[in-house]
């Protein structure tokens, strides 16, 4: 069969919108994150059937179902191992991972470090609302100290995990932060994260409309967010990024915190390289069978 070159029409944000309608609480920050993801994917231009979108459990983990990409709403905290498996088995796919702060930094916390050090080419978007919203408002790993919830009636005594500092410390080569209060900016950082070769991380401060106080809602974020460009941040400087990351919970910086100017080869690329090399030395199957049958 002869191959006829087919020109792909430019994809639009609505091409990534599934027929399933979101059932988040009205006013949830995740609505804006979803819009930013649609626009980022349109910017990337890969058709939905070339994208695998994996999530764990939680409100934000519903996101793959709201897109036309292949989706896997998996097990709590296990989105990253599944996504890594998909990327290794099907390296041609664009692999995205989504989840909440509980999914990523509590039950799945151990996986984040290993996904980073393996440097598999995938993009991890965490919708950090600092609470377990789906289960009716318990403390999550990023809940601020003093937060009153159903599990901390007198206020949390624990210090929160700092997701930005965590991933930077483990060596992530792309780290950004956004908010649904600036959907254009968020779409932009998600698109940059997807284009970055290797493990890329986007922390989205996506407030829980039901359990977070008004001063943390999207409207309030608009007044206090600060773009990293406005403070003259050099996103190629990891130490400067770590310095700014320490203000997590106090200052809402948006934009690219760190982007490795010379990223290392990805694990999936290294695996393919090794497979190609070993294939040259591989013993043909017939000979292996012969050896077993001792002909």
């Amino acid at each position: 069969m002869s191959s006829i070159p087919v020109e792909r029409p430019a994809l639009q944000a609505k091409d990534f919108k599934s027929d399933l309608k979101p059932i988040w609480c009205p006013g949830c920050g995740d609505f804006g994150v979803l819009q930013a993801i649609y626009r980022a994917l349109a910017g990337i231009g890969r058709p939905p059937h070339e994208i695998a979108f994996v999530s764990g459990i939680g409100c934000s983990s519903r996101i793959p179902g709201y897109t036309t990409a292949y989706g896997f709403n998996s097990v709590h905290g296990r989105a990253l191992p599944i996504a890594q498996g998909i990327k290794l088995a099907r390296p041609e796919l664009l692999v995205l991972v989504a989840g909440g702060d509980g999914d990523g930094f509590s039950i799945g916390g151990g996986h984040v470090a290993h996904a980073i050090r393996r440097n598999i080419d995938l993009t991890y978007i965490v919708m950090d609302n600092q609470i377990y919203g789906l289960t009716k408002g318990q403390l999550s790993p990023t809940s601020p100290r003093g937060l009153k919830t159903v599990t901390s009636e007198y206020g949390s005594l624990e210090a929160p995990v700092n997701p930005l500092l965590y991933v930077l410390a483990y060596g992530a080569s792309f780290v950004a932060q956004g908010t649904p209060a600036d959907m254009a900016g968020l779409a932009d950082v998600i698109e940059q994260a997807i284009r970055h070769p290797g493990f890329s991380f986007v922390n989205v401060q996506s407030p829980c409309v039901t359990f977070a106080p008004e001063d943390q809602q999207v409207k309030a974020q608009r007044g206090r967010m600060k773009t990293l460009a406005s403070v003259g941040h050099d996103s190629t400087n990891r130490l400067a990024a770590m310095g700014l990351a320490q203000t997590y919970g106090e200052v809402l910086y948006t934009g690219v915190l760190y982007k490795d100017p010379a990223p290392q080869p990805t694990l999936d690329a290294l695996v393919r390289e090794r497979q190609a090399k070993l294939a040259l030395e591989a013993v043909p199957r017939e000979r292996i069978l012969d050896m077993f049958l001792q002909k």
Binding site: A10, Q12, A13, K14, K21, P22, I23, C25, P26, G27, C28, G29, F31, G32, Q35, R39, A42, G43, K136, G137, K148, T149, V150, T151, E153, P180, M183, A184, A187, D188, E191, Q192, V209, T210, F211, Q217, V218, K219
Partner: protein, 174 residues
């Protein structure tokens, strides 16, 4: 990367019409989403109002599309939805499950005013006289729409005084 900003200085009439159509399309889709959210939370009155707004924005979109087809036929569109974010679409965070009809009208009013601001700012940057005329017309339309919503608001009785803690989930266990 897809451009996420619009260069108003170089905008042609065809692009400007397409942009205006996309603005209405975005608003129509957002009202549809908000209507679904309200229906899901058994807030039928507000859901019904947002459904009405879907129709209104659809009518505006249809009028602009008709004009665009008359002037430029099926010439391919050069502007993209990805360049627009919430021009006339109400903000997601402007609604809650217990939004009242009065608050819903206020949401629509803010959306109309936001669109007016957008076209006013754009007007200052536009160079093409035909585009200037279109944007000036759209600005006037938005003022008229805002006036209509204000009229509806004036006919509604004030919301009953309900304390937030009566309707919101309490974050603290008892």
């Amino acid at each position: 990367m897809v451009p996420r900003t619009i260069d108003f200085a170089t905008l042609s009439l065809q692009d400007a019409l397409d942009l205006a159509i996309l603005v209405e399309e975005e608003a129509k889709e957002r009202y549809d989403e908000l209507a679904h959210q309200m229906e899901l939370h058994h807030n039928q009155d507000v859901g019904g109002f947002f459904r009405f707004m879907v129709k209104i924005e659809g009518v505006h979109e249809g009028r602009l599309e008709h004009r665009r087809t008359e002037l430029f036929g099926a010439a391919p569109r050069r502007v993209r939805r990805e360049m627009l974010f919430d021009v006339e679409a109400p903000d997601y965070d402007d609604v809650r499950a217990n939004t009242t009809p009065r608050q819903a009208l206020e949401v629509a009013l803010r959306a109309e005013k936001k669109a007016h601001e957008f076209f006013t700012r754009a007007l200052a940057a536009v160079k093409d006289p035909a585009v200037q005329a279109l944007f000036a017309e759209l600005c006037e339309d938005e003022v008229e729409h805002a006036g209509l919503v204000e009229q509806q608001l004036s006919r509604l009785p004030p919301d009953p005084v309900i304390k937030a803690e009566d309707v919101e989930d309490d974050p603290v266990a008892h």
